[in-house]
Every structure is written in C-alpha cells, then in structure tokens.
Symmetry: C2
Subunit: 228 residues, 2 copies
DNA sequence: CGTATCATTGATGGGGCTCAACACGCGTGG
DNA sequence: CCACGCGTGTTGAGCCCCATCAATGATACG
C-alpha cells in the first residue's frame, strides 16, 4: 500500500524541520561551545571532514556549505543518512571514534572545538545538557521518518519529499540551490541515480517542480500539483 | 548493487548489540530511576502502552515481554522502527508528547516513573546524563543501521539479519523465541508478510535457520550457510 | 465441527535496477 | 576555432524482485 499522494505524509512531526519551542530557546547554548571568531576549517568539495573509525577528538559546527554524513558497507555501498548544513553540528553522536564518515558536498566552512573542552563545558552546564538531549531527540525522530520513506514510499514521492524538506530547511521562497549531485541524492533516499533523474523529469513534466539549470529548483503549490 | 552474502554487513558496529564498555558501566544508573519493587504495569498482547500525540508524562522500563514502537502514516501504514525488550527503556526520546505509539507484542510488564521526578533526578546527576547520552547515541546508530537495511538489502537478507540480531540480543544459544507475528516482522523490515513468510521458507530450505513450530528458531553457523 | 487467526504457497503484474546510448557543458591542447 | 576527453545528467530497453491478489494449510477455541 504505497503513498498515493505525491506530497504525502509527514507522519506526526509538527511540521517539516520546524524546531520545537524549547529547541529555539536552547540551541544558542550549544552554539556557545564554539568560538565565533576562532579556529575555522575549510574543506573543498568531495574532501573528507572526518573518517569512520578514527578518534572523535573534535566537534564541529557548520558555518556554511553542505556535508554528507554516510556509512559504507563492506562491499562499498554508500548510505547517506543525513545532509547537514549551515548551523548544524557534527560529533555529538559519538564519544571515542566516529561511527560515520563526513564529506564536503560543496565548499564547507567549519568551526571546531576540541572534545575535552566541549565535554567539560557540557558537564558543568545543565541547560546545555537539556539542549543536547533535545537535539538528539530530533535526530532520532528524523531518522525514523527517513526509515519510513525508505520502507514504503515510491521513488517519485521520495524525491519530492526530499526536495520539499530541503526547501523548507532553506526557508527562503523562490528557487533553492541543490548543492549535491544526483548520485548523492540517490544514496540518501535509497535509489539509483538513474531513477532519481527520471524522478526529476517526471516531476517537471507534471509541473510539481520547476528547475533552473540542474542545480536550482522550486516547488510548485499543492493546488497545481493536484491538477496534474 | 545488492548485498550478495546473506550474512552480510554489520557496517562498523563493534558487534551486534554489544554495548560499549562505557555503556556497561553506566546503564545501571538509568535503571536506578526505577523503583525495582514498586509501580508495575501489565499490558496484554496487542494492547497499547502509549499513544502517539498524547502527553509523555511517564517513563518506562521493560521488565519482561516485547514492545513494538511504531508510527502510522496518514493512510494507516504502520512502520515499526524498533522492537524493545526486557531491560530497554521507553520515553527518553520525548519530552512533551509521544512521537510514536508503543504496543505490547506479548504480555508486557513495565516499571514506570513519573516524568517530573525522573527529569529532576536527571538534572541533579551528571553521570546519569552521560549514560543517557550514550544510550541515545546507540539509538541513533541503530536507526542508521536499519536505514541501510531498508535502502539496500534484498528481502531474504533483511530477514536473516533481523533473526541474527534478535538471537544475539537474547544471548543464549539454542532456540530463540520469536514473540512477534509475521506481520510485525514485515512492518519492521519493510516487506509484506507474504515475502517474510517466503523468506522463512527459503532460509529453512537452504539450512540457514531451523525452526521449531513457527515461533522458535535457531541460526545455523555461517560455515553451513556458505555450503548452501 | 465451524470459525477465526495465522502461515504458507502460487500466479501475475509492475516499479525500479541494470546495462547501454546519447546529450550537454567545460576544460585542455592541437 | 574545433577536436577530444571527461564528468554529469537524461533517456531507453529488458529483466527481476517483490507487492498484490488469491487459494490452501495449520492450529486454537467455541
């Protein structure tokens, strides 16, 4: 029983990507861990930021750019379980070694903080702990939502939801930049890049999306979509 | 590019379900939140423990039995993102309202603690916070592992891995009880119950598993499996 | 024995993977 | 300037795995 409506299902999330009220208040407490002026790291497209299995001795905040967080199976299949963007954090889901690999999709700028210092600050700051737990709760729910997509949604719906979620996170109306390649999208939503490409074509054909070049898109209103 | 070997891929987890050393030390601290003698709740098979959307005013520890944690899409499709068993906890991934529904698979016995009391205890106990964060980290990794399965593994491999993981969690060698129905398994690994059933038959035929009735199974060694 | 629930097995069709060809932009170097 | 290669994206043809629909067993319970 697949999801008929292309724009289907948000499960029960408040709305896509909208942080809970508590989150809005608490997020700055996490950001304070990072010195807003100091150590900044630049990473070029397709270069790795951190490697699965290596010591997780640093935490990062993404200043700008897009990061793909992925794991590789023994036979080299890549699974991107998350795209992280400006304002997101890397490293709070590990203690000793990284359980995933992070790579730059485009030019990425990071702020870094050594783990010992961060952990010490966390230990002394109860409201920071609450903020962290809230962040991880959102991470759990996001992964469950993604699991549902992988298990039950047909190809085109997966792509449509990926695009709407991305546009919602970027916030601004109008065209949204699509920093990643078709292959990256495919490895994220569990398809081949050919199927992703067909999905783009199909969505364009039925006026669900509009594209400028192949790295900018815009979602059309649901009303238009229903007419198709 | 599917996973050829039936016993394939653990990604990079230490080993199935084995808690990290830190976890072994810290887990009792979470357990201490629950009074080992007092308020116990019994839930009959297929009855609900907590409902998506309702206030999350209680935390639970599972004393015995198996719980399915699931979400429902608008059109009624069920996704079981986790089976929780004896020793597992429910409720640390929410603050105000439940983001999922928990139902008893078999007869379930729970210990409960009111959230305000638990949160107060957490706020005052730093090492408990560390334990909680470790638990949530494991939850994140488990969901990512599951995402990989849903995205890339063929039906039979999914079932085989589900069974091996279950047997590993139960620990004891010999036959393992399978508390849930085919339909539950299907909704967990993203298949239909018919395909799950065919998977059982196929695994039996090639001597990968052995069954006693249809609710007890045993995994055969990989050596035997390779010979098939 | 009749009924209900669950599991198994078969037949059929379709969605997406695979293999393959082609289009397009962009760089380099003749 | 055009040729050529290369990376990326699109489109087509064919096939296979799994969802779907359907029928038959198996077991428990009245």
């Amino acid at each position: 029983m697949h999801c008929h409506a292309t724009h289907s299902t948000t499960l029960t999330e408040p709305k896509t990507g909208r942080p809970a009220p508590s989150e809005t208040d608490l997020e700055p407490r996490i950001a304070k861990l990072f010195d807003p002026r100091q150590p900044v790291r630049h990473v070029l497209p397709d270069h790795s930021i951190l490697l699965q299995g290596e010591p997780a001795d640093t935490l990062y905040q993404i200043v700008s750019g897009t990061v793909r967080c992925c794991t590789f199976s023994e036979d080299g299949v890549r699974q991107i379980f998350r795209f992280a963007g400006a304002g997101d954090y890397l490293g709070f889901a590990d203690f000793e070694t990284w359980h995933f690999t992070a790579e730059a999709v485009d030019h990425v700028i990071l702020r870094a903080v050594p783990r010992p210092r961060a952990e010490a600050a966390i230990a002394q700051n109860p409201s920071l702990q609450v903020a962290l737990r809230a962040m991880m709760v959102r991470g759990l729910a996001a992964r469950e939502r993604h699991m549902f997509m992988l298990a039950y949604m047909p190809a085109e719906d997966r792509l449509y939801r990926f695009l709407t979620d991305l546009a919602a996170r970027r916030g601004a109306s109008g065209f949204t930049v699509l920093p990643m390649k078709r292959r990256d999208i495919a490895d994220h939503i569990g398809l081949t890049f050919e199927t992703v490409s067909r999905g783009f074509s199909s969505l364009k054909r039925k006026r669900a999306i509009e594209m400028r070049g192949n790295d900018r898109f815009r979602i059309h209103s649901d009303d238009l979509l229903l007419a198709a």
